[in-house]
Every structure is written in C-alpha cells, then in structure tokens.
Amino acid sequence: MTATDTSGPHTSGRRAPLTKAEIAARVAADIPAGSYVNLGIGLPTLVADHLATGRGITLHTENGMLGMGPSPEPDDVDPDLVNAGKIPVTELPGASYFHQADSFAMMRGGHIDVCVLGAFQVSTSGDLANWSTGAPDAVPAVGGAMDLAIGARRTVVMMTLLTKDSRPKLVERCTLPLTGVGCVSRIYTELAVIDVGIDGARVVELFGTTHGELEDMLGLKLGRTR
C-alpha cells in the first residue's frame, strides 16, 4: 500500500513539504476500502474530505454512531446529531445509533479498523501523548483518547512534526503524560511518513527533506522501511 522499494523514500526527498490537506490525503490513501474508521478531533477530521465515496469507508463517532456524514447545511443542523467534537454532522444511509457503552465496546473490542489521532508527542516505540500538555494550571480532560488509542486495530497519528516553537514531536521517550503505551504504528506529518513501534522509527516517505536532514532535525537515528 505504501512505497516499499528502497528508492521510494529517498528519491521523494526533494518534494515539497505537505500542506495539512495533503497530509490528510496521504492518510486517506493508506485506508483500505471497506474500512471502519474513527477520526479524532482536530487535524484528523480533515481526513474525511479525502475518503472518496464508493470505497465503502464508514465513519464511527464514539459518541454513538456509525455512518456519520459531513456537516449539514445551516438550516439542517440538528442538535441531537453531533460528532465527538460536538460539531453538527449528518446521517448517511446505513447509519446506526448506539449508546456509550456499546460505542466504546465497538472501539475497545478491536472492531474499528483504523483510528487517526492528533498528538502532542509520539515516541519511536509508539507511545502516544495527546491528552495533556502537562501545564500545572490546566484543567485536565481526556475524553475518549485513551480508549481510541489502544482500541483500534491500527492507530495512526496525523500531526505537524514540530511544535510551534520548533521542538520535535517524534521523540525517543514522551515527556508529556501518556495516552497509551506502544499503541501508534505510523505517523503522518508534513515532512515524512514514519513507522514507529517495537522496531523503532523507520522512514516510509519523505516530503521536501532528506533522511539525514530529518535525523538532524529530530535528533534521532531513523531506520528505513525494508
């Protein structure tokens, strides 16, 4: 599904960094037809725009629905029909509703094929930190993040590779409070697609940078897929 010949990751190094929409499209391209998918709040919601209809991809929203459609026209907003970000959505043919325990059973029982989450930090071993900035005066909130992170068959992260003050978000070890341990399998960023996990971080694809530049930027030794 992704580039696996060794020339792939490296010859693509001189392409430009991706826009957010392009990252979303790149995430979408990896989602197999027929998948059940949960998109986390924030950046990952952009992925929906790139899931072509006709591929039979069904969106789950953990507040209790399968078959979620796009935002409604203003006149069609229904306050009883919202997504996990409390944003009004619509219902597609074949939709179904269920209560919170059933919805999280669906997620926690491993029935969702792909979950796309945002992140503050991801470790090279796949640990995820995406619910708390660790600021001492912050009001904490976790929502479904911890369930989503470990419940899906495959959890991937869509994020910028650097924070606003240019610190790497892909790290040897997360310093922020964890959401889940070893749960992320791949990150999609503006500069690279990188697999993470027990084998460490391995570059899958580069955009507007080189393997060496990326290693320098992150202060990490990165492997290559295959």
Binding site: L81, D137, G144
Partner: protein, 235 residues
C-alpha cells in the same frame, strides 16, 4: 424497580435528592442533556453532590450553574474542559470542586458494570498513564490491564425522546449517548421526554430502555431537538 410514575413537572419527577447524593446526568455536550431536570435539581436545593457526567457544563447551562453555586463537591467525568466551561474551570482551580477524570470508555463501561451487577473488570484502557496510577493491574493474554470498579448512583437524570405508559424509552440520534446505561446504574432513574405515547405505540423490537429501569417520567413539551435551550449553547 416498580412501575414508572408520570410526573406533572420536572421538580415532581426529580423528587427528593439528599445532600451528598451521587447524581448521574446524561448528555454529551448539548445532545441529550436533561436540561429541565437539572434546572429542577438547582431549584430543589441538594448540595455536596457527586455528579457523574461526561462534561462539566457549558456556558451558563444548569449544570454549570449547579457548579457555580457550590452545590457540587465532586465531578466524575471524562471531558470537563470546554471553551465555555468557565464555571467548572473556576471552581476546579479554586479547589471548590474535586475532579475524578475517567477515560470516556471506562466511564461508560463502569456505569454499565454498575447496572449489570459486575463487581469489577480488567481493561487495557489507561494502562501506563497517569489515570491508572495506583490502580491494580495485571497482564492477561499478553496485554497489561487495569482493574476498574463500577460507578453507582443514587439518581440518574436522563433525556429521551419518547416514553410509553410503562416507561419504555426510545432516544433520538446521538442524544442517546449515556442515557441507556445511566438509568441502569442508579437507584432511581428520572427521565424527561419530548412525548409520552400510549403503551403499545413503541415497537417492542426498537425499545432501547425497557421500562424496568425507569422510575419517573416527565413530558417536557418541545424538549426535542435542543429546544430546551441546548441549541443556544456554543458546541
């Protein structure tokens, strides 16, 4: 539970709530909030409450005002922080309200466990995170899991769409959320509905909450589609 009673007002449906009671409040953001029942709780006067709810109030909605007035000693919820959760934020920062932060799936499963007579359960959710600190854990089938206990309540306040004469309930779209499990976990379940229909008018195959779980019902005209005020709040 014995047969559901039909009340003439939210306050009558609510009945007696003791100081220090644990109160579950349904809803996920505005969807499914039992706004009139929480208003009735404000009026009723109980304090020192432990409130179990996914969120901790938006803007000046009734739950936010319950917190503002110092009536809530503790919130058990997954996502208290909202752009307009200023009353909770202030109460939390001043130490006026205690917070037990629970991952949303654990919140749902713990409420379900209370209703289903499960003494405790192991789940991978939260393992290795600050929210599992101090909790018992063990490795089962190669996966590290945390032991979680049920959450029971004295009263559950829930909004549904329709009730029939024996208290069977159906909900509407994502407003279903916590309602069907909260009514099972409380000693007393109080429900506000848009419409009471005659017994026999609900399809027995489509009943979501059987009447056995429902203790009191109040019909609030026009309480569907956020007309109780929920629509006025930012999402």
């Amino acid at each position: 539970m014995s047969a559901a009673r039909f009340a003439k007002s939210a306050l009558e449906a609510l009945g007696d709530v003791a100081d220090g009671a644990t109160v579950m409040i349904g809803g996920f953001g505005p969807a499914g909030q039992p706004t009139d029942l929480v208003e009735a709780l404000l009026e009723q006067g109980a304090s020192g409450l432990v409130v179990v709810s996914n969120n901790a109030g938006n803007g000046d909605d009734p739950l936010a005002r319950l917190i503002q007035r110092g009536r809530v000693a503790k919130m058990v919820c997954s996502f208290p922080r909202q752009v307009d959760s200023w009353h909770f934020d202030a109460a939390y920062r001043s130490g006026q309200v205690e917070l037990e932060l629970v991952p949303q799936g654990n919140l749902a499963e713990r409420i379900r466990a209370a209703g289903a007579g499960i003494g405790a359960f192991y789940t991978p959710t939260g393992f290795g995170t600050p929210l599992a600190e101090g909790k018992e854990h063990r490795r089962i089938s190669g996966v590290d899991q945390v032991l979680e206990y049920p959450i029971h309540a004295d009263v559950a306040l829930v909004r549904a769409d329709r009730a029939d004469g024996v208290g069977n309930l159906v909900y509407r779209k994502t407003a279903r959320n916590f309602g069907p499990i909260m009514v099972t976990a409380a000693r007393r379940a109080v429900v506000q509905v848009r419409e009471v229909v005659p017994t026999g008018a609900l399809d027995p195959e489509a009943v979501v909450t059987p009447g056995i779980y429902v203790d009191a019902v109040v019909e609030i005209a026009g309480s569907a589609r956020g007309a109780t005020g929920a629509t006025e709040e930012p999402a």
